[in-house]
């Protein structure tokens, strides 16, 4: 066999398993979603009836369920990105200071992140129902007596809070890594030039954290857009549809209402939504990074 042919054969053989796997698990279902989004299909019957763009029309025009779930997801993602990054950065700044047991404290904040999000949702469901009741009895403070999961105007905050609580540790360790990479001599030079502590932080450290920011914002953005487990555990999208995320909406459409065709159409729209949002944010951030 010629050397060239053998090399080419090797290249194909080495990459073939990966190619087959992504095609079977990712591309095939994705293409099928595209097809079934144009059909009326209950998931059980063999043939799906082709109905053209009917599903998309009914999702976007006739019903408000999907668009309101899209709005919920956008709001959730926005709040999630802001709060998880702000709190994580604040705690990371404190946790990079030298004191005994710093590692222990980092571990504490990381623990919710290593737990399954479903379990986290259940823990908070327990706290919101049983725990808050007792706290109200003890303190008689109004906050504990609100129905955080049952009131459609409050449930958003409860869900967002639990989301931030679960993943804060992850962003903390990313920011700690970023803060530790800020060169000490640059900070020293700033001190020599007479910068105060807060000036040093805002004018030197923060701009140099650029790459960490991009990573954390991007990760929190994609995680926020995918929120599902926590909502399923806490509220199942309720009360009514008050905490219905897009993912929840797709899940219910397919597996509760058995509208697989419509669910597929919603999947496609959701994919496009995620793609557009992440690309726009990524572009905006890449332009702002500061190099040393």
């Amino acid at each position: 066999m010629k050397r060239k042919t053998r090399e080419n054969l090797e290249t194909v053989l080495f990459s073939l398993p990966a190619v087959i796997l992504v095609c079977l698990m990712m591309y095939l279902p994705f293409v099928l979603s595209g097809y079934y989004s144009l059909t009326k299909w209950n998931g059980i019957s063999k043939d799906a009836v082709f109905i053209g763009t009917e599903n998309f029309k009914s999702i976007l025009v006739d019903s408000r369920d999907f668009t309101s779930s899209l709005w919920f997801t956008a709001k959730y993602t926005f709040v999630f990105v802001i709060f998880s990054n702000v709190f994580a950065l604040m705690l990371a700044v404190v946790l990079t200071k030298k004191f005994r047991g710093a590692n222990f404290y980092r571990g504490i904040f990381f623990i919710p992140y290593i737990m399954s999000m479903t379990i986290v949702g259940f823990i908070w469901k327990f706290i919101f129902t049983n725990g808050f009741e007792k706290l109200y009895e003890m303190t008689e403070m109004g906050v504990w007596n609100l129905s955080w999961l049952g009131d459609s105007s409050l449930v958003f905050y409860a869900v967002a809070f639990v989301g931030v609580w679960q993943s804060l540790g992850f962003y903390i360790v990313l920011y700690i890594a970023g803060l530790q990479a800020v060169p000490a001599d640059v900070l020293e030079a700033a001190t020599v030039d007479g910068a105060t502590g807060s000036q040093r932080f805002f004018k030197v450290t923060l701009p140099l954290l650029g790459p960490s920011f991009t990573t954390c914002i991007f990760m929190s953005l994609t995680n926020g857009l995918k929120v599902f487990d926590i909502i399923l555990a806490l509220t199942k999208g309720g009360p009514g549809t008050a905490s219905n995320s897009v993912t929840m909406q797709i899940y219910k459409e397919a597996f509760t209402n058995n509208n697989y065709g419509r669910g597929s159409a919603e999947s496609i729209l959701y994919f496009l939504f995620v793609l557009v949002v992440t690309q726009v944010v990524l572009k905006a951030f890449n332009r702002k990074e500061v190099d040393l």
């Binding site: 190619v19 979603s33 980092r106 737990m115 823990i123 327990f126 994609t222 555990a233």
Partner: protein, 279 residues
């Protein structure tokens, strides 16, 4: 007061504040564990109190009811199958795609890593259908294999970026010594991927072990194939949850992860950071 004393005081103040925040932060987890040692009546009477006397009957009941040992093994089997495939296929693909630069490898590289952009929920409906056809749904091994497909894009991406830092002279000298490409990969390249393999292991174990939606769709129908998280899920009903059992099942589901985290905190945190920065 000297400057030194001032600094000391502000440091003590900071640590005290941090301790308060940390205690409040972790308190819900603490409450879950504490209440799992109480009978149902005591939980309802006072969630915040310590157990009157530590009661292990919740644990004996739940461990027996969900067959904890069996489910733990299920989790291990699914995670290990998933890991082995992801690491083997991704590292191989990344190696060849980075080393050979031609039209085919550039296309395959894009093809393999692009699915990182597809959210799982956007394909889950038709995935279930495809996996039924391929007979990969409803079994532990099948679920493990499915994780290959979902894990490969990210892992290939991480391995590929790391491959760039390994000098090509190593491949060439192995070749001169008469080693085949496969041999070179196994004996020379793969050992050098150790640090990045640890990153992939950390990320994927955390993901597969705790995953919920894919197991819910694929293996929830039988008690033989369930995972720990699914078992906890069945204990929390909509209306009147038996919280004593539910909290016990939840605690049992997270105990393995917490123990592993305490033992390997350094590696896990490093792995997570490396994965996020490279991924």
């Amino acid at each position: 007061m000297t400057l030194k004393q001032k600094r000391l005081i502000s440091k003590i103040f900071m640590v005290v504040c941090l301790t308060v925040v940390a205690v409040i932060y972790i308190y819900p987890v603490f409450l879950m564990v504490v209440n799992s040692f109480k009978p149902f009546g005591e939980i309802i009477a006072n969630v915040l109190a310590m157990p009157k006397e530590p009661d292990l009957s919740n644990y004996t009941y739940v461990i027996d009811k969900i067959k904890y040992g069996k489910l733990f093994c299920n989790n291990v089997i699914i995670t290990v199958i998933g890991l082995i495939g992801i690491i083997a296929f991704s590292s191989m693909a990344a190696y060849i795609l980075e080393r050979r630069n031609n039209r085919y490898t550039r296309f395959v590289h894009t093809l393999v890593i692009t699915p990182m952009l597809i959210p799982f929920q956007a394909i889950m409906i038709t995935l279930l259908k495809s996996m039924n056809v391929l007979h990969l749904s409803g079994s532990k091994v099948g679920l493990g294999i499915q994780y290959w497909g979902f894990g490969v894009p990210m892992a290939t991406f991480i391995f590929y970026n790391f491959m760039k830092t390994i000098p090509r002279e190593l491949d060439e000298s192995a070749k001169i010594d008469g080693a085949s490409t496969f041999r070179t990969f196994i004996s020379v390249i793969f050992p050098l991927l150790k640090s990045v393999t640890i990153t992939v292991i950390v990320l994927d174990v955390m993901w597969i072990w705790n995953d919920f939606l894919l197991p819910l769709l694929m293996v929830n129908s039988s008690n033989e194939t369930k995972t720990l998280v699914l078992a906890a899920y069945t204990f929390v009903g909509q209306m009147n949850t038996k919280w004593n059992y539910a909290l016990t099942a939840m605690t049992l589901a997270i105990v393995p992860s917490v123990i592993v985290f305490i033992l390997l905190q350094k590696y896990i945190v490093e792995g997570v950071v490396a994965g996020a920065v490279k991924g």
